[in-house]
C-alpha cells in the first residue's frame, strides 16, 4: 500500500495547474501502462499526446475521465484531488459519489462518437444538462442550440445519429460534451474513425474552440500536422512515461530523443 | 419443510427410479424421431417446388405455434375416432417427435443457411448430385452451428416428458401423481420429482455449454 501522506489534500498557491498527474501508475495485472507519471496542464493550455500504441496515451485521458481506476499516485483537477478524497487528513480512494461530482468538470469525446442512437442531435446535447445538471428544458435547449450552431450542426438538430455522417456525429458529440460546461475537454482520437474528407470538419471545430475559448484541452491524435498547428505543448509518450515534451515547433522540428525521432519519421513515412 | 417425512421419501424412491428410466427412454426416442423428421422438414423447405415449400412451412409453423399438451391429446384421441388404437406410449412418441421435429427443423434451417453460398457453387462446378451435395458437403458444415440448438432441445424434450402423464404414460410425473393420489401426500413426491429433474437437466445444460465451447474452439471460433 502506498503511503498517501506524501500527497497534499489540495493544491494551493499561485500557478495551480488545471490538471496534475502526480506519480501516477496504472497497471493491468502484470502489465504496467503508466509508470509513475508526472504531468501538469495549465489552465487554458492545449496539450497533444502522441506516441506508439501501447504507450499509455489513451490511458492518460481515460484515467482523467475516471473510466479507469488508478493504481498509484493522485490526479488533481483544478487543485482538488480527482481520484482520491480527503478523510481524516489523509487521501483515500474516492467513493462513487465523490467521483461523480469530481468528474463533472471533465468532458470527453470518443473515437466512436457514442451518441445516443434513440435521441436526436438536439436531445443528445440536452440530455446531460437536463438529467445531470437539472436545468429546465428551455434553458437546456437554448444552450444546446447555441452549441450546435457553433459546431455547424444546427440545421440537423432534429436528426437521429443514424442519419448523420461520421464527421457530423463527432461534431454533435463535441457539442454534447461542451453542453456540460466542463473545465477540461478530452479528445480521444476523435478523427481516427472518420473518412479523410470529413476530418477537416472536426479539426475545424477544435481549432475554433482553441481560438475562441479558454478551455483546458488534452488531445490524443495521429493528425500530426493539425497537432503541430494548434497545440501549446506536445507530449511524446513511450512505454508509460513521457519520453519528451515541449512546444510543437521544437518537438516536431528538432526532436532531441532518439525514440521521438524514430516515431516521428515512422509517422511521416506512413503519411 | 417442517412436515417433510424422510421415511416416506425413501419409501417411494424406487418407484421414481423406475419411472425415470421411462422418462429417459421417452425423451430419447422422441428426440430420435425429432432429429430425423426435423431434417426432412428442413430439406423439404428447400425444394424447387413452391407449393411443397409453402405447405411444409405452414405445417411446421402450425406445430410450433400450438401447445404440445394439446397435440398429445389430439394424437391420442384422434386415432380411436378413426379406428386406430394407439397406446399412450406410441401416441406420446408421435406427438413429442412431431412437435420437436418442428423446432429442430428451424435449427437445421439456420445451420443450412449459414453455409456459405460458395460451397453450393463449388458443388455445381464439380457436378455433384443433389444428394451428394447435401450429405457430403453441406450437412457436415451445417452441423456445428446447429449443435447448440440441438443440445438445448434435447434438454427441453426431457423437461417436457411430464406432459405425457396426461395420457397415462408411466413416466416421472405420472408416478408422482399416482403416489400423491394414493397416499394423500404431495409434498415429497412433487418435490422429489422437481429435484430429480434439476439433477439431470442442470448438468446436462452445463455439459452442452461445455460441448458448444469445445466445438467452437475446434472449428477455430466459427
Amino acid at each position: 500500500m502506498e503511503d498517501m501522506s506524501q500527497y497534499p489534500l489540495e493544491l494551493t498557491g499561485p500557478d495551480v495547474p488545471m490538471v496534475r498527474f502526480m506519480n501516477v501508475t496504472k497497471s493491468y495485472g502484470a502489465l504496467t501502462v503508466l509508470d509513475s507519471l508526472d504531468l501538469d496542464v495549465s489552465e487554458g493550455e492545449m496539450v497533444t499526446v502522441i506516441g506508439p500504441s501501447g504507450s499509455g496515451k489513451t490511458t492518460v485521458l481515460r484515467m482523467l475521465m475516471t473510466l479507469e481506476t488508478i493504481n498509484g499516485g493522485v490526479i488533481y483537477v483544478d487543485g482538488k484531488p480527482l481520484t482520491h478524497m480527503g478523510k481524516n487528513g489523509v487521501l483515500v480512494p474516492a467513493d462513487p459519489k465523490y467521483l461523480r461530482l469530481a468528474r463533472s468538470s471533465i468532458g470527453m469525446c470518443f473515437q466512436h462518437f457514442n451518441l445516443f442512437p434513440h435521441m436526436t442531435a438536439l436531445q443528445n446535447c440536452m440530455e446531460g444538462p437536463m438529467q445531470v445538471l437539472g436545468l429546465p428544458k428551455n434553458e437546456a435547449r437554448e444552450r444546446s442550440e447555441e452549441l450546435l450552431s457553433m459546431v455547424g450542426m444546427i440545421d440537423k438538430k432534429d436528426q437521429h445519429p443514424s442519419r448523420l455522417s461520421g464527421g457530423q456525429q463527432q461534431r454533435v458529440a463535441i457539442a454534447r460534451a461542451l453542453a456540460m460546461r466542463p473545465k477540461v475537454m478530452l479528445f480521444d482520437e476523435v478523427t481516427s474513425a472518420l473518412d479523410p474528407e470529413v476530418i477537416g470538419e472536426v479539426t475545424g471545430v477544435i481549432r475554433k474552440l482553441v481560438a475562441e475559448h479558454n478551455l483546458t484541452m488534452l488531445m490524443v491524435t495521429h493528425q500530426m500536422a493539425f497537432a503541430r498547428d494548434i497545440s501549446d505543448r506536445v507530449c511524446f509518450f513511450y512505454q508509460g512515461k513521457i519520453e519528451e515534451q515541449g512546444a510543437p515547433e521544437s518537438l516536431f522540428g528538432n526532436p532531441q530523443r532518439e525514440r521521438t525521432q524514430q516515431f516521428l519519421s515512422a509517422v511521416k513515412a506512413a503519411d | 419443510m417442517f412436515d417433510w417425512r424422510w421415511d416416506f421419501a425413501f419409501e417411494i424412491l424406487p418407484r421414481f427410479l423406475q419411472a425415470m428410466l421411462n422418462t429417459l427412454a421417452a425423451a430419447g426416442v422422441g428426440y430420435g424421431i425429432a432429429v430425423v423428421l426435423g431434417l426432412v422438414f428442413a430439406l423439404a423447405q428447400r425444394t424447387p417446388s413452391r407449393i411443397v415449400t409453402i405447405v411444409v412451412r405452414e405445417c411446421v409453423e402450425f406445430i410450433r405455434s400450438t401447445p404440445l399438451v394439446l397435440q398429445i391429446f389430439f394424437v391420442f384421441f384422434v386415432g380411436p375416432q378413426f379406428g386406430i388404437r394407439l397406446s399412450p406410449w406410441v401416441a406420446g412418441m408421435i406427438a413429442i417427435g412431431l412437435h420437436y421435429s418442428a423446432y429442430l427443423s428451424e435449427v437445421y434451417r439456420g445451420g443450412l443457411d449459414s453455409v456459405p453460398k460458395g460451397q453450393w457453387e463449388a458443388c455445381t462446378a464439380l457436378n455433384l448430385s443433389t444428394t451428394k451435395t447435401y450429405f457430403r458437403v453441406i450437412i457436415p458444415q451445417a452441423l456445428p452451428p446447429s449443435l447448440a440448438g440441438m443440445g438445448n432441445y434435447l434438454v427441453g424434450i426431457f423437461k417436457d416428458t411430464p406432459m405425457l402423464s396426461v395420457i397415462g404414460v408411466a413416466e416421472l410425473m405420472q408416478a408422482a401423481n399416482g403416489i400423491g393420489g394414493s397416499h394423500y401426500r404431495y409434498l415429497e413426491p412433487y418435490t422429489m420429482v422437481g429435484i430429480i429433474f434439476l439433477a439431470i437437466s442442470l448438468p446436462a445444460a452445463g455439459l452442452i455449454r461445455v460441448f458448444e465451447a469445445w466445438m467452437r474452439k475446434k472449428l477455430g471460433m466459427n
Binding site: 475521465m65 473510466l67 457514442n114 451518441l115 438529467q131 | 410450433r64 400450438t66
Partner: protein
C-alpha cells in the same frame, strides 16, 4: 354431424375457454416481464448475494418442468401456508417459469448495448440509475424484442397447461367437448386452430409491429 354444426353447437364453450386463455396470457405475460426485468438486472448486480439469488431462481425455474412447478405451486405450497386459487396458481406458475427465460433475454439485451454508450453516459456524469433508465434500457429493449416475440408464443402455449389444474381455459373446454361428443379430431382440432390463429395472426404480428415502432423511435426506420 358436419363440422359447421359441431362448431355452432360448441362455439359458446370455445369462446368461454378462449377468454380465460386470453386472461391467463396477459396476466402471465405481465408477471413474466416484471420478473424477467428484476431477475435480469439482479443478475448483473455487483453484489454477489443479489446475483446468486436471481441465479438460483433462474436455474430452478428453467431446469424443471412447468408442469412440475404448476403442480408444486397448487398442491404443495398450501402445506407451507400459501394457498392459491387455481386461476392464480396458473398464471403465477407460467409467469415465473417464463420470467426465468426472459431474465436471460434481458441480460443479453443489456449486454448487447455497445460499451461506448455506457462510457458516454458516464462521461456526462449521469447517475447509474438514470444511465440505465434513459440510455441503456431503451437500446436494450429494441435488441430484446425479437427473442421476446418467440417467448410470447411459448407463453401462450404454456397457458394450456393450467387446464390440468382445472382452470377452465380453451384447452380445458376442448377436453370437455371431447369427453361429451367423442369427436376428438373436431374438438381438439378446433382448439389447435384457435391457438394457431392467436399465435400467428395476433401475437407475432403485434411483436413485429412493436419492433418496427421501436426501430423508428431509434431513428433506424
Amino acid at each position: 354431424m358436419s363440422y359447421w354444426e359441431f362448431l355452432a353447437q360448441n362455439a359458446p364453450r370455445y369462446l368461454d375457454g378462449t377468454l380465460v386463455t386470453i386472461a391467463q396470457f396477459f396476466l402471465s405475460a405481465t408477471l413474466a416481464i416484471l420478473v424477467a426485468l428484476t431477475a435480469g438486472l439482479m443478475k448483473m448486480s455487483r453484489n454477489a448475494a443479489v446475483r446468486w439469488t436471481a441465479g438460483t431462481y433462474i436455474e430452478i425455474f428453467r431446469g424443471t418442468s412447468l408442469l412440475i412447478q404448476l403442480y408444486w405451486i397448487f398442491f404443495v405450497l398450501p402445506l407451507f401456508g400459501l394457498t392459491l386459487d387455481k386461476f392464480y396458481a396458473g398464471f403465477v406458475a407460467v409467469g415465473l417459469n417464463l420470467g426465468a427465460y426472459g431474465a436471460e433475454l434481458v441480460r443479453g439485451g443489456i449486454q448487447s448495448v455497445p460499451k461506448g454508450q455506457w462510457e458516454a453516459a458516464y462521461a456526462i456524469s449521469m447517475s447509474p440509475a438514470k444511465r440505465m433508465y434513459r440510455i441503456i434500457l431503451p437500446q436494450a429493449f429494441l435488441n430484446m424484442l425479437p427473442p421476446w416475440g418467440n417467448l410470447m408464443i411459448e407463453l401462450l402455449k404454456a397457458t394450456a397447461l393450467v387446464s390440468l389444474i382445472s382452470v377452465t381455459d380453451l384447452m380445458f373446454e376442448a377436453k370437455q367437448i371431447n369427453g361429451s361428443t367423442f369427436l376428438s379430431a373436431q374438438a381438439f382440432g378446433t382448439a389447435l386452430i384457435i391457438y394457431y390463429i392467436f399465435a400467428r395472426l395476433i401475437v407475432t404480428p403485434f411483436m413485429r409491429w412493436l419492433e418496427r415502432v421501436m426501430a423508428r423511435k431509434m431513428g433506424r426506420a
